[in-house]
């Protein structure tokens, strides 16, 4: 899976916020899913109206068909996004969400604006998203919105003790290893990696290993030595 691209914006107090911007690929896939759903809804609506209304109000069948299809065509995307705070079914499936250019929650008018120009974006959207660092189509530029990844936060191990001299690269590498160590199928490989980290701790801060049994389970020893907690 490709890494999520982060683009910086300036938020409150001019603090940099890194937004996980959705790229043209995931957005295209989401919109493809949405159009499939839209087509299914339209077909479902035609069947429903024809079957349910023909015996009761035959003269009104075309009226319900015209109006229903028109509302679906112009209202599906805007309606879904307004109702769910910036998501459609396609976006939910891919873990995407519409936010304002400042990372905030977009209001109904911004969501309406971005969807009213959707027809034009079927032509211009993809090339515009491809060349823009924030992957904005015409509607996003007009409404001041962005589409970002919104997958929620997963718990991750945090080191409670750190050997002196370790920088962010070491910290990130050890935390990343510990997050995956228990799920690795190659236990021997995981233990070998844990042993190498333990060696490094033995060299930089041997006092952290006092009272820690490093011979039985190196991964458990590492968790104990660095007082790792889930956060």
């Amino acid at each position: 899976m490709a890494a999520i691209r982060h683009e910086s914006i300036l938020g409150l107090d001019n603090i940099r916020l890194d937004l996980p911007v959705a790229s043209v690929g995931s957005r295209s896939l989401a919109v493809f899913l949405d159009y499939l759903i839209l087509a299914a809804l339209a077909i479902g609506w035609v069947f429903l109206v024809v079957i349910a209304l023909t015996p009761l109000l035959p003269n009104w069948v075309p009226v319900f068909l015209f109006v229903g299809i028109f509302l679906l065509d112009w209202g599906y995307f805007a309606g879904s996004e307004i109702a769910t705070g910036g998501r459609t079914v396609g976006k939910m499936a891919l873990g995407l969400r519409v936010v304002t250019a400042e990372g905030g929650s977009p209001g109904p008018s911004a969501l309406l604006i971005r969807n009213l120009v959707r027809v034009l974006d079927l032509v211009f959207g993809v090339p515009l998203m491809a060349i823009d660092p924030l992957s904005r189509r015409l509607g996003d530029r007009l409404a001041g919105t962005l589409v970002v990844h919104d997958r929620g936060r997963e718990k991750a191990p945090v080191l409670g003790r750190v050997p002196p001299g370790w920088g962010p690269r070491e910290l990130a590498a050890v935390e990343s290893f510990l997050a995956r160590a228990r799920a690795l199928e190659d236990t021997a490989g995981a233990w070998a990696m844990a042993d190498r980290i333990l060696d490094r701790i033995r060299r930089d801060a041997p006092e952290l290993l006092e009272g820690v049994d490093t011979r039985r389970d190196p991964v458990a020893a590492l968790l104990q030595a660095l007082q790792v907690e889930e956060s």
């Binding site: 990372g103 905030g104 080191l159």
Partner: protein, 319 residues
């Protein structure tokens, strides 16, 4: 500050903020003033911690957690718009936006009238134009002394025509508006085409002495219908202008503001189209209703719209 100490000292703040976010997941409305104030304070603290972690401890779990919290907090606590209800929208928000774009509406009207006269002159100068614009059936109908519009109610039930007319007119208005994003080309096209069509159709009916009949047909609905299309197109022109014309402000902000104003104008116009579609199917083609009544309906609808759109408003307070 080392990483472990940073996490140990600041973690209670992050935990509190995360708990408060989870508690208010459904809505912020249920939160009391103190809760919101506390949440805003924690949000600021999380933002600052996020900035520190992103620069001092990039790639770590704490930096990742803080980034997720900062994004979630920003999304939940900022960016919402105030809503004033439907009545407030039509009595205040719409008239204000409409009056702000009067210049664009004036340009749209001038262009429309110009092309209407041009179409009229063209149709009078070239009688064969009628066949091209209206088709052989409609021209044959004119020769026999009846308008093609009669088929609106004779061939299909009024409800069908109403829904078709309403959705068609709504599509025209929406397209004219949204096409503004292409530097105003689409709304310009809609204005010019409508003017040219109206003028030339009048010119053709003049040749068959049916212009009076056409006027009778369109008076009840046409006046407001054309006004709404022109106003929607003018809103599209405003968007186009914001894209093309340079100002002192960043273009992104100018375009965003123009789109918001234009959306208000569009939303103020859309509800009238279904009303007009009913008038167009029930009142306009009716042979029983006198011309005076149709004219009254048309003028009353137009006056009502303009009275609403041009109603005097109190001066806007400075933000």
């Amino acid at each position: 500050m080392d990483y472990a100490r940073f996490v140990r000292l600041r973690r209670p703040v992050w935990d509190t903020f995360e708990r408060r976010l989870a508690a208010s997941r459904r809505s912020l409305r249920g939160q009391g003033y103190d809760d919101l104030e506390e949440m805003a304070l924690r949000y600021r603290q999380v933002l600052h911690d996020h900035a520190l972690a992103a620069s001092r401890f990039p790639g770590t779990s704490a930096a990742g957690r803080l980034r997720a919290l900062a994004l979630e907090g920003t999304r939940r606590l900022t960016g919402r718009e105030s809503r004033g209800g439907v009545l407030h929208f039509f009595l205040h928000t719409f008239p204000r936006a409409f009056q702000r774009q009067l210049g664009a509406t004036g340009i749209a009207l001038a262009l429309f009238l110009l092309t209407t006269v041009w179409g009229l002159a063209l149709a009078v100068a070239r009688p064969d134009l009628g066949l091209t614009i209206l088709g052989p059936q409609a021209v044959q109908g004119l020769e026999e002394g009846h308008l093609w519009t009669e088929s609106l109610v004779t061939t299909v039930p009024p409800a069908w025509s109403s829904s078709l007319i309403a959705t068609n007119n709504l599509s025209v208005a929406l397209s004219a508006w949204s096409g503004g994003v292409l530097a105003g080309i689409v709304p310009l096209y809609v204005i010019l085409l409508n003017g040219l069509m109206l003028g030339s159709i009048f010119g053709v009916t003049l040749q068959y002495s049916m212009a009076g009949e056409l006027l009778k047909f369109i008076l009840a609905h046409g006046l407001l219908e054309m006004t709404l299309v022109l106003v929607s197109a003018a809103a599209g022109l405003e968007i186009g202008r914001s894209i093309v014309v340079a100002t002192d402000r960043p273009r992104g902000l100018v375009v965003r503001d123009a789109a918001r104003g234009a959306l208000v104008v569009l939303l103020g116009c859309l509800p009238w189209f279904p009303v007009l579609a009913v008038v167009e199917t029930l009142v306009s083609p009716s042979a029983q209703l006198p011309f005076v009544l149709k004219a009254t309906v048309g003028l009353a609808l137009e006056s009502l719209f303009l009275a609403l759109a041009l109603r005097p408003l109190a001066a806007e307070a400075n933000p």
